[in-house]
Amino acid sequence: MALFKKALSLITGSPVKETRPLKGLTERQLIELESEIGGTLFGPIPAGHRRDFFCLDARTWVWHEEWIDTDTGKKRTSTTRYEAHENGILKAQDGVNYRFIEGEELTNLAVAVRLYYEEVMRGVYKRDPITGQKITEEPPATIDTVT
């Protein structure tokens, strides 16, 4: 069928139009989309690195980084979880070190979280981050005129 469409496209000169059906996105897939933006919030990602930064659930933010160790050639990973409690943000790095963050690190996380929210609302959900209203890219079909 795909071959037929391509052949028809070559004959008629019009590009193949792919219809994308409505698809149910899982929470995990939405997180992956969010992380595409989250990973870009802290500047350029070094070559050979993969960075994820995302909101896992209502109280947990995750920073995950993967890279190849240039000395050993082995894959290295680092996962940091920031758990939001009402009295502070608990940081758990690679499931070993636990401590409440403060000072500049807390400020940086707060900035990242807010920026993540604003960019993800616009980039993934196409909504205004303040009002929650859908961002319309097309002009309205009719314009009300005052007579």
């Binding site: 409505l22 996105l25 929470e27 933006i37 995950h64 940086n108 900035v111 009002t131």
Partner: protein, 146 residues
């Protein structure tokens, strides 16, 4: 420690001001402030959720049924544990990330606002935005188009 490496600065005076402000607050003041913020957050979250359009009116029954079945089946897989090894990356063909200039502008704007907050306010900000993201996912997940 990635966030510690992020190039942001705060003057010593600002740090001292912020610390002295937080030290001056009694525990009772903190608790009262926290309660007030929680109430305001819940009210705001409820208002945001109630504003959203109901997309189901634009779908056929079959599409709705298919989306719900698909979502519930895969949600079970997700609930078993978040898998960071993506063997089935989703199609990002039509997904665009914001350009660098937009991110930098937003970053500076937000950074200036957050620097003025105390520690408790920053914490509440993080909790608030986490709750919103989960809420938005719950609304969007079954009927999104990609």
């Amino acid at each position: 420690m990635p966030l510690e490496d992020t190039p942001m600065t705060m003057s010593a005076t600002e740090q001292m001001d912020r610390q002295s402000t937080s030290f001056a607050e009694s525990e009772e003041v903190r608790r009262y402030s926290l309660q007030q913020r929680e109430v305001a957050q819940l009210e705001h979250a409820y208002t945001m959720a109630s504003r959203r359009p109901d997309r189901t009116e634009h779908l056929t029954d079959r599409q709705i049924e298919g989306a719900i079945i698909s979502d519930s089946a895969e949600r079970t897989e997700y609930e078993a544990g978040f898998d960071l090894d993506r063997e089935d990356p989703i199609d990002l063909e039509k997904f665009t990330t914001p350009d660098d200039e937009d991110v930098e502008t937003a970053f500076n704007k937000v950074h200036n606002q957050v620097e003025k907050m105390d520690v408790l306010a920053q914490t509440m900000l993080i909790i608030q935005h986490g709750e919103y993201m989960v809420q938005i996912r719950g609304v969007e997940a079954p009927y999104s188009r990609i």
